[in-house]
Symmetry: C2
Subunit: 317 residues, 2 copies
């Protein structure tokens, strides 16, 4: 049975050390009804962070890496540190409440800084993050249909993350208006998705996904230290590649080099999707390989290995 | 009596031509209770637009210019055009519902694209914008205490708005996480506010305000066509200046020139606030002039003239 489950989290327990009962940790509410205060900073300022993944057969893909990244975003946003054990328990309570996991559901974890303390409603409220988690079996899941893509400038030079932390590059914030605008631009041009690049022509990320280039048996993705998210599904892909005896690398990746790939993949939400075209240039699609990678991710085969995958060594801006 | 009034707008009437009764146009709700759906695009994506001003003695400062700018933001965001007459009526209904206007209140108009159509809750819903308007007499108003400021890079070159409309420069979106981050950076450094600059050292705007430089009897502000908001309070200041026989100009303003000003002002929310320091450099504060400008704005003296103030001629990126 497909449905949508919405659980409102206990911000104090999820960002503190108090241990509370299940019912005090997550309170299930009717998802069609209003659950958020108009003075919440998610509503007024996009001032919060989030994670999105997929639950496959009751198993949340890359959950540990998502929660690790949530903690990283919280740090970049000067928010308190999430209690990972409490978040894990909350996520599992939401999953347990779902009626039937057969068909796969999208999951989102949303955290805002709380009520806006510059308003009369928020000024005397305790600074407790607002948290909710939903499991959505009604929204369409991704699939393996090969994508056309275009590159668009992000407007920044490649060293900006080292100089301007207030731009929040690398934090997964709720301020997604620009990401949405890029997707509208894609739709206008009849293109499936976009990859953002720097003003000095280095590869960044997609509006809600990671880009990966394959050269023979080497898989390359932009080093997140350039100021982008560290892809969770990309780490699952890298785990698959290493299990298959292939090589992987994080690089400061010029767009010119991206274009020279044998194959391109876009990864997000527990899916790795083949790219058939970038800026009008055609790329080979290996449907069998794409299926293999996704099967490995969805079956949990890559889960453990993906936890330890990360760029190593120094990074030069 | 200070309070907070929250009115939920009728998105269909405010973004269409249907004429509805007062009660159908704005529905007053308890501001401490949940009024927004968790799947609203304001919550999930910061995907919406807003305006903020002040109501002084029952009079909404610069309302026409705010609604004009809301329409401009809607266009940049590919949203439908707001019905300005309906919005004006809705704003006035909210003001009429407020118990006592003596002490001044902040007003915000919030619009999101509606429910997220990529979720099971939003997918079958009509694409109707979510609108709410609040009047907040409990939050502190601005005042004329001179500000210290610092410059921070926005990370963009000065011609980016001409090349990358998907970055939404010049739209007042709900995606304000970066603006909030700059204010946290200011607080960390013990600085009052910031002015953003381009990578090639042109002056932009403040996180939620406009910067104005005074040279003798000339008032200069950055031309909004660089990709910033057209300041409403700045237009009121320009109207005051013209009434006083002074000169005004919109310019592509190098930071070097900004630094050479005799005086600096930051303008927002119906207030023009003197700046006493920028990047450690001290500036003369003319408290009497600051008071004059604000009195002219708050008494409505500048209102009509401000409506027609705008940059003229071509703009070179």
């Amino acid at each position: 049975m497909s449905s949508v489950i919405l659980g409102m989290g206990n911000g104090k327990a999820l960002f503190g050390n108090a241990v509370v009962s299940d019912n005090d940790l997550i309170r299930f509410v009717e998802p069609t009804e209003a659950a958020i205060n108009a003075f919440d900073l998610s509503v007024l300022r996009g001032d919060g962070i989030f994670e999105a993944t997929m639950v496959w057969g009751g198993f949340p893909i890359s959950l540990e890496n998502h929660l690790k990244r949530l903690a990283h975003s919280a740090k970049l946003m000067d928010m308190p540190a999430p209690n990972i054990a409490a978040f894990t328990r909350a996520v599992n309570l939401v999953i347990e409440a779902y009626p039937d996991h057969e068909s796969g559901q999208t999951m989102r974890i949303i955290v805002s800084r709380g009520l806006d303390s510059s308003t009369g409603i928020g000024m005397d409220a305790p600074a407790t993050p607002t948290v909710f988690i939903f499991l959505d079996g009604k929204a369409p899941l991704h699939n393996l249909t090969p994508l056309s893509m275009m590159s668009v400038t992000r407007g920044y030079p490649s060293d900006i993350a080292s100089r301007a932390p207030w731009l929040l590059n690398g934090a997964k914030t709720l301020s997604y208006a620009m990401n949405c605008a890029i997707h509208r631009e894609c739709a206008r041009r009849g293109i499936g998705d976009a990859v953002m690049i720097t003003e000095d022509d280095y590869t960044l990320e997609c509006p809600n996904a990671t880009i990966i280039a394959q050269y023979d048996d080497l898989f390359v993705t932009p080093d997140p230290r350039i100021g982008i998210l560290h892809g969770t599904s990309q780490r699952e892909l890298f785990a698959w590649a290493l299990q298959e005896g292939k090589r992987v690398a994080y690089e400061k990746l010029p767009v010119e080099e991206l274009r020279e790939a044998d194959r391109l993949y876009m990864a997000h939400g527990g899916w790795v999707i083949p790219v058939k075209e970038l800026d009008g240039e055609q790329y080979e699609v290996d449907a069998a390989q794409a299926q293999d990678i996704n099967d490995a991710i969805h079956s949990g085969r890559t889960h453990d290995d993906a936890l330890s995958i990360a760029p190593t060594g120094d990074y030069e801006f």
